[in-house]
């Protein structure tokens, strides 16, 4: 029986920039930073109140299953904002929205009452977008 999700990936354009975004802007905790070569790290972060979920900040670079043309196309798609990766929950969306905006996070939707809760939307430094939700 599967019990829960422990690791999920976000594909990023620049790992150093991404770690700054997720730790210093979103307030996540850095869990792992393991060097795997000159230009790559195994980096994971967790939301502060959910340490059993590690989000891996995966570099989009050539290697393994990513051939050069695939990596290039993938980078373009991420940069364009093609991918929405998930929903982050918060206790109070107005406070969280204010905090993240004050730290320079780019929002594409203000907190808005929806059927499933109050939702805002923001982009990370690579172009991936997320919902921010208060249930």
């Amino acid at each position: 029986m599967i019990t829960h999700l422990s690791h999920a990936s976000i594909y990023v354009l620049d790992q150093a920039r991404a770690i700054d975004f997720y730790v210093n802007k979103l307030g996540f905790i850095e869990r792992m930073k393991v060097p795997l070569g000159p230009d790559a790290f195994w980096i994971t972060v967790s939301p502060p109140d959910q340490p059993d979920l590690e989000i891996t900040l995966m570099p989009i670079q050539e290697g393994g299953m990513f051939q050069a043309d695939v990596a290039k196309k993938f980078r373009e798609l991420v940069q364009k904002g093609t991918f929405g990766f998930g929903v982050f929950e918060c206790k109070d969306i107005y406070a969280t929205y204010q905090e993240l905006k004050s730290k320079g996070v780019e929002f594409t939707k203000e907190p808005t009452k929806e059927f499933y809760g109050i939702e805002a939307m923001f982009k990370d430094d690579s172009g991936n977008w997320f919902s921010l939700k208060q249930s």
Partner: protein, 142 residues
């Protein structure tokens, strides 16, 4: 649909509460207490406590302690326990040790040892930290 912020008349209040949280983030290493923090938000102490807890789900004191412990966890990798204790704003090693253990389940000494062992393992065999599905897609396991 109309943005909720348009119909929410108290956005200015959130700004002040957020400023108080950011004040903790910036000054956790200093000798700060509830008076400093509520002054920062320009609220009475009681009102501030209630609003902070409602916005962030924890009291400002609990949040300050968590921020200090988080920073201590990073520093323990390469600094002595006493230095870490004072560097993150605690005033006594026994209270630091007690709170650290309550938050992490380990004493600062045991935590530091675990970090050092993990560091050595990372240097010696980094791929042992990476689930195979990730390593394979990048060719890191070749």
């Amino acid at each position: 649909m109309k943005p909720a912020s348009d119909i929410h008349p108290k956005m200015y209040r959130y700004r002040r509460i957020v400023e108080a949280k950011l004040f903790i983030d910036a000054h956790y290493a200093d000798k700060i207490d509830l008076d400093n923090i509520s002054n920062q938000a320009a609220f009475s102490k009681y009102h501030f406590l209630r609003l902070f807890k409602s916005a962030f789900g924890k009291s400002p004191h609990k949040y300050l302690t968590e921020v200090r412990i988080q920073h201590a966890q990073k520093l323990l990798k390469s600094h002595p326990i006493a230095n870490v204790c004072y560097a993150v704003g605690f005033e006594s090693i026994p209270s630091f040790t007690k709170l650290f253990k309550a938050h992490t389940g380990l004493s600062p000494k045991a935590f530091s040892k675990r970090l050092q062992a993990q560091d050595q393992q990372q240097q010696a065999a980094p791929l042992t930290f990476v689930p195979h599905c990730f390593a394979k897609s990048y060719g890191w396991d070749e």
